[in-house]
């Protein structure tokens, strides 16, 4: 099974460069230019990792993540933003329950590494859950 990642940014140039960056990482990539399209994708796909911009028209990144939690509470959430004041970061953590807050301009290698770590985290989490599940069943049996 390959991991699914969704990138949301109202800037086409950013999405294009991310597409290039993640092309050979082996993840299944999804891209959306606004929060609305992103939510549509979330309804259809079992997305493991969401990375979104903060400043976007209509719905900002934190508002979007809040809605995404209703659809996929278990996905890991990241923000990749060109501007981070304290309030934005706090909101992101409190309301968007973000796992990491990354800043633009990003460094390719660092970004790739962060994402790899995220998927590592997801992998461990999934394994732990299934072990837990298994253990529970064994106890029942």
């Amino acid at each position: 099974m390959s991991y699914k990642m969704l990138c949301v940014d109202d800037e086409p140039g950013v999405l294009q460069s991310l597409k290039r960056l993640f092309r050979r990482e082996g993840y299944e990539m999804f891209f959306a230019g606004n929060a609305h399209d992103a939510l549509e994708i979330l309804k259809k796909e079992n997305i493991h990792l969401i990375m979104t911009d903060y400043r976007m028209p209509e719905m900002n990144g934190v508002e979007f993540l809040k809605k995404s939690i209703e659809i996929h509470p278990e996905s890991l959430r990241l923000i990749l933003s060109g501007y981070a004041d304290a309030k934005v970061v706090c909101d992101a953590i409190d309301q968007g329950q973000v796992y990491r807050f990354l800043t633009k301009p990003w460094n390719d290698e660092e970004l790739l590494e962060s994402i790899r770590q995220c998927f590592e985290h997801i992998k461990i989490e999934t394994e732990r859950n299934s072990l837990l599940q298994q253990a529970k069943q064994e106890i029942k049996a």
């Binding site: 460069s17 060109g82 800043t103 633009k104 990003w106 390719d108």
Partner: protein, 333 residues
Amino acid sequence: MEAEVLSKNEELLKRALYRERQARFKAEDILEKKTKELYVVVEHLKKQITDRIEAEKVIKRNQAQMIQSEKMAGLGQLAAGVAHEINNPVGFVTSNLQTLKKYSLSIKKMISEYDSLVSSVQSKDIEKSVSFLTELAKTKEKEDIAYILDDLDNLVKESIDGTNRVKEIVKGLKSFARLDEAEMKEADINEGIESTLKIVWNEIKYKCEVIKKLSPLPMIVCFPGQLNQVFMNLIVNAAQAIQEKGTLTIESFVEKEDIVIRFTDTGSGIKPENLEKLFNPFFTTKAVGKGTGLGLSVSYGIIKKHKGDIFVESQVGVGTTFTIKLPMKGAAL
């Protein structure tokens, strides 16, 4: 008898001398005392003067700080927008260049294999040629050359767009601040409005549609950078008064002896009881940390300095209009 007279005279003389000496001592004493007093007074005066100079320095510094902090207040709000606007293109252009570096490695690899193939063909080494050819096909596949060739033009085009955008923003910032122009000079007010709009665009683009009705204006002598600051304050205020979506109409025209600039928004409007306090320093209805309340008071000062006028009409729930009148003649200080 004679001796007696003599000694008596001597006695008198002595006494006189003594008196005179006493008087002199006394005078010296008084002089010294007076000098001391004078010294104290002079010292006191000196201290007063230095205190006064210090106080004036502090006042000047505070004034400078007030002006500076207002600049910061206005620009602080913009920093978010400008940072975002610059960090986006810088982000993707940098990333694209990194990708380009990888593409170039792949292409170089293919070319070096192609060179080997050519030389083996030239030396008619069929076996080697075949093996290089297979290698080349493999590499082409592995390096995803088809994708690279397909993407290359887009990558370059997008990156050039990105750097052009950064260039535009920096140009806009410069013409907005016009930092080199602390002096009065002839300027076109419409140009000032345009360059200010460019700068605040990020702050307002998601919320308000801007309708410009700018008539051609004569050049006027003014502090262009300061007037831009006024425009910025009014535009940002208008955008902040708009909750979800609205319009901001900016008009400019000549009326009699004045240039008139009008900013009309469809924002929240201003309560009648607040209208008179609007231009007071530190009057703000915005949350702590959001507004300093200096925007309008400083704008008022700048317009007065240009011998102009600024006034406001507003209706709660409908919107607000700020009107500026600048005399075409006599704007000079």
